[in-house]
C-alpha cells in the first residue's frame, strides 16, 4: 500500500550507483515471514474483496499441496503470535486450534491437518489474515514447482498462468536471466535453503499509478496510465514499487514459502530524501535498456528523468 509511515523505515532497495539483476538475498535478522503495518485493516479488506471477487486470479493450488499449506498456516500463525502477541493469539489443545485476530475481531476454530474443519483451503484461510502474498514452491525431484499460491498484489504477472510451473519456466520472460546463467544459480541457491536460516531480498520496479493489484489479467485497466506520465505529473503519478520478499524452508514437505509484501512510494516522496533522489537518478539514467523494457518503464522513462533532474536542480539552487 502507498507508504504513509516514516520514510526512514521505507524498504529502500538501492545500493551503489548501478542496478543489475542479481540474487541480492541476505540472511534475515528478524526471522518473521510476515509484517503488520499501519495499513493492515485497509489492506485486509481490499485483499478479501479481491479474493472473493476474483478467486481464479488471486488463488491457485494443486491437490498435493495441502500438507504444505498446513505448514504455512503453522508458520504464519507462529510468527503473528510471537511478533504481535497483543493482536493475535492461538489456543492449542492437541490438534484443536483456536486462532484469534484481535485487529479484525475474529475467532476461528479448526482441527489442524483436517481440511474439512475449514470452509476453504488452509492457505486461502491464513492469507486472509496477512498483508503478504504467499507463494508455495514445492521442491520435488530436484526442481522447484509453484504448487500453490495466494497472489492479490502481483507486479504484472499471473498466478493462474504460472501454477504448476518450474522455477526456470516462471522466470523465462526476464531478459538476460537465462543467458547470464542467473536462473540456474538462483535455483541452486533456493534448493539449498535450510530451515532455521530464512532469507530476505528487495525487488523493485516503477509504475504509473498507485494500484496494488497490477495483475497481468488487468493490464488493460492500469497499463494505459503509463502513457499519461509527464515531467510535470511524474512526482505524483509515478511510484516506486518495492517488494520485501522472504524465503523460508518448510521442513515438513521440504518446500519453500515465498512471502511478498508490496510497498508503494510516490516519486515526490522519494525526492524528499536528497541522497535517494541523487542515487535513483543515477541508477535510472544508467539502467540497461532490457531492464527498462522488462520493468515497463520505457514509455515514460524520459519524463521521469526530467522530473528527477528538475528536483535535483531545485536542491542545488537552495
Amino acid at each position: 500500500m502507498k507508504w504513509t509511515g516514516d520514510l526512514a523505515h521505507f524498504p529502500y532497495p538501492f545500493k551503489g550507483s548501478t542496478y543489475r539483476y542479481s540474487n541480492n538475498s541476505i540472511p534475515m535478522k528478524q526471522p518473521y515471514c510476515i509484517e503488520v503495518t499501519s495499513s493492515y485493516k485497509k489492506e485486509m479488506l481490499f485483499k478479501r474483496k479481491l479474493l472473493s471477487d476474483h478467486p481464479e486470479r488471486c488463488y491457485q493450488s494443486l491437490p498435493h499441496s495441502i500438507t504444505g499449506q498446513w505448514e504455512i498456516v503453522e508458520i504464519v500463525i507462529d510468527h503473528l503470535v510471537s511478533q504481535y502477541p497483543q493482536d493475535f493469539s492461538i489456543e492449542q489443545e492437541n490438534n484443536r486450534w483456536i486462532f484469534t485476530n484481535k485487529i479484525l475481531d475474529e475467532k476461528k476454530e479448526f482441527i489442524f491437518g483436517e481440511k474439512n474443519s475449514l470452509p476453504c483451503e488452509p492457505l486461502f484461510f491464513i492469507s486472509q489474515h496477512v498483508q503478504e502474498d504467499l507463494i508455495y514452491m514445492r521442491q520435488r525431484d530436484d526442481n522447484l514447482y509453484l504448487d500453490a499460491g495466494q497472489l492479490c498484489f502481483p507486479a504484472n504477472w499471473s498466478l493462474a498462468f504460472n501454477i504448476g510451473m518450474k522455477f526456470k519456466s516462471i522466470h523465462h520472460p526476464i531478459p538476460g536471466f537465462k543467458e547470464e546463467g542467473l536462473d540456474q544459480r538462483i535455483l541452486q541457491f533456493l534448493m539449498r535453503l535450510e530451515a532455521g536460516t530464512p532469507w530476505e531480498r528487495l525487488n523493485w520496479s516503477l509504475m504509473a499509478g498507485d494500484r496494488l493489484d497490477t495483475s497481468l489479467e488487468t493490464f488493460n485497466q492500469w497499463g494505459r496510465l503509463r502513457k499519461q506520465v509527464t515531467s510535470e505529473n511524474a512526482g505524483e503519478l509515478v511510484h516506486i514499487r518495492v517488494e520485501v520478499q522472504k524465503l523460508f524452508r518448510l521442513p515438513r514437505t521440504n518446500s519453500i514459502l515465498f512471502s511478498i509484501h508490496t510497498h508503494l512510494l510516490a516519486l515526490e516522496q522519494l525526492a524528499t530524501n536528497i541522497e535517494w533522489l541523487q542515487q535513483f537518478y543515477e541508477i535510472l539514467s544508467e539502467l540497461p535498456d532490457h531492464i527498462v523494457e522488462y520493468k515497463g518503464i520505457s514509455t515514460y522513462k524520459k519524463a521521469v528523468l526530467k522530473y528527477l533532474e528538475k528536483q535535483l536542480q531545485q536542491v542545488k539552487t537552495l
Binding site: G16, R20, S22, N23, N24, S25, I26, P27, H64, E71, R138, Q139, R140, D141, D142, R185, I186, Q188, F189, R192, E194, A195, G196, T197, W199, R249, P251, R252, T253, N254
Partner: protein, 319 residues
C-alpha cells in the same frame, strides 16, 4: 567462519536397542516445540568434548509430525574418532547439546510409481521416516534390509510389526544374502534408495546404472564430515590489473573491497552466490555451500566471501 543456527536440546532417554546401537531421545530445552521434518531428514549434532567440537549427522527416526521430541539411533563404530564413542560412553540422560534444524538431502521422489529401499545395518535409519511418509500418502514401497543377525538387526520387530508385507530381511548368519539381482525385478517407474556402508552403496548404484535405471531414479545418502578450514595467506591477481595480498584473517572479498575494487556481494556466508567470480589460474579451496560438486571440481569459479586459494596465487576475472 559461519556457524549455522542451532536448537538446544537435552537427552531425555537412552535405550540400548542392539548390542551396538543405542537410541537417544532429545527434547527441546526451551519448551517450544521442535520443527516437523520430512521423510529421510537428518540433523547435525554438536558435541563439545575436551579435544574440541564434534559434528556428526544422524537421521531422525521418530515420526515426522512429532514435535515434542526427536529420536536418533547411533551405532558404536569400531574405528570411532570420538563421535559414536562419545554418544555411547559419555552421554547421560539430562545432558545438553546443540542440534541443527532438520535437513533433507535424501528425500522421496515425488514422481516415483513405486519406492524400493535397500538398507544394510544402521543404514536403515533414514528409511523409517520415509516409510511413515509413504504410508500416509498411500503409495507403495518395499524394503530389503540386510543385517548380520536377527539380534543385531536394528528396529527389526518394529518394522516386522508395522510393515509385514513390504519388508524383507537378509541375515548373513543364516546364509541369506541381499543381492543386486533383485534390482531387475522392480516395475518401470520404480525409484531405488540405498543406505549403508560405502561399498554397499557403490555396489548397488553401479548395478542399477548397468541395469538401465535413469540416474534420477537412483538415490543414496552419504554423510560427510564438514571440511576444516585452512587459513593461510595468498595472493589474488585481477586478470588485467593489480595483484593484492589476502591475509590469513581476511576473505578475498574483503581484500578486494579494501583495494577499492568493486565486487558485488550479498550474504557473505557463502550461500547466495551473488559474489561468484571466474577463476583463470590457480587452485581454489572451496568453502561455500552454493556451488555444486561438479562446479567446484571444474575449478573455474570461486565464491570469494568464504573460499580461498590452495595455490599461492589465484588469477580472477573482474569485469
Amino acid at each position: 567462519m559461519y556457524i549455522e543456527p542451532t536448537l538446544f536440546v537435552r537427552v531425555s532417554s537412552i535405550e540400548k536397542i542392539t548390542k551396538q546401537v543405542k537410541k537417544f531421545t532429545l527434547f527441546p530445552e526451551t519448551g517450544k516445540e521442535l520443527p516437523r521434518f520430512s521423510g529421510g531428514a537428518h540433523i547435525s549434532t554438536y558435541l563439545k568434548i575436551p579435544s574440541g567440537l564434534i559434528v556428526r549427522q544422524y537421521s531422525l527416526v521418530s515420526h515426522p509430525d512429532k514435535r515434542s521430541n526427536y529420536e536418533i539411533a547411533v551405532r558404536l563404530s569400531e574405528n570411532s574418532k570420538g563421535g559414536s564413542l562419545h554418544w555411547h560412553q559419555g552421554m547421560k540422560v539430562g545432558d545438553r547439546l546443540q542440534i541443527s534444524y532438520p535437513k533433507n538431502h535424501f528425500s522421496l521422489s515425488f514422481k516415483a510409481r513405486h519406492h524400493v529401499f535397500y538398507a544394510a545395518g544402521i543404514g536403515i535409519t533414514p528409511f523409517l521416516s520415509m516409510m511413515q511418509d509413504i504410508s500416509t500418502n498411500r503409495q507403495t514401497f518395499e524394503l530389503h534390509y540386510a543385517s548380520k543377525s536377527e539380534e543385531s538387526c536394528v528396529f527389526h520387530s518394529y518394522i516386522k510389526k508395522h510393515y509385514p508385507n513390504q519388508s524383507h530381511f537378509y541375515f548373513s548368519d543364516q546364509h541369506q544374502r541381499l543381492q543386486t539381482t533383485s534390482l531387475a525385478n522392480h516395475p518401470i517407474g520404480t525409484h531405488v534408495y540405498f543406505c549403508g556402508p560405502e561399498g554397499f552403496i557403490e555396489q548397488f548404484r553401479t548395478a542399477s546404472i548397468e541395469l538401465g535405471y535413469p540416474i534420477l531414479s537412483i538415490h543414496s545418502e552419504r554423510f560427510s564430515p564438514p571440511k576444516p578450514i585452512v587459513l593461510k595467506a595468498f595472493q589474488v591477481k585481477i586478470h588485467n590489473g593489480i595483484t593484492i595480498n589476502v591475509s590469513k584473517t581476511e576473505t578475498i572479498l574483503e581484500a578486494l573491497h579494501k583495494h577499492g575494487i568493486i565486487a558485488p556481494y550479498s550474504c557473505q556466508i557463502g550461500r547466495c552466490g551473488t559474489c561468484e567470480l571466474p577463476v583463470l589460474k590457480g587452485r581454489v579451496d572451496h568453502y561455500d555451500s552454493f556451488l555444486s560438486d561438479e562446479q567446484k571440481e571444474a575449478n573455474n569459479c570461486i565464491i570469494p566471501c568464504v573460499s580461498r586459494a590452495k595455490s599461492d596465487k589465484l588469477v580472477i576475472e573482474i569485469k
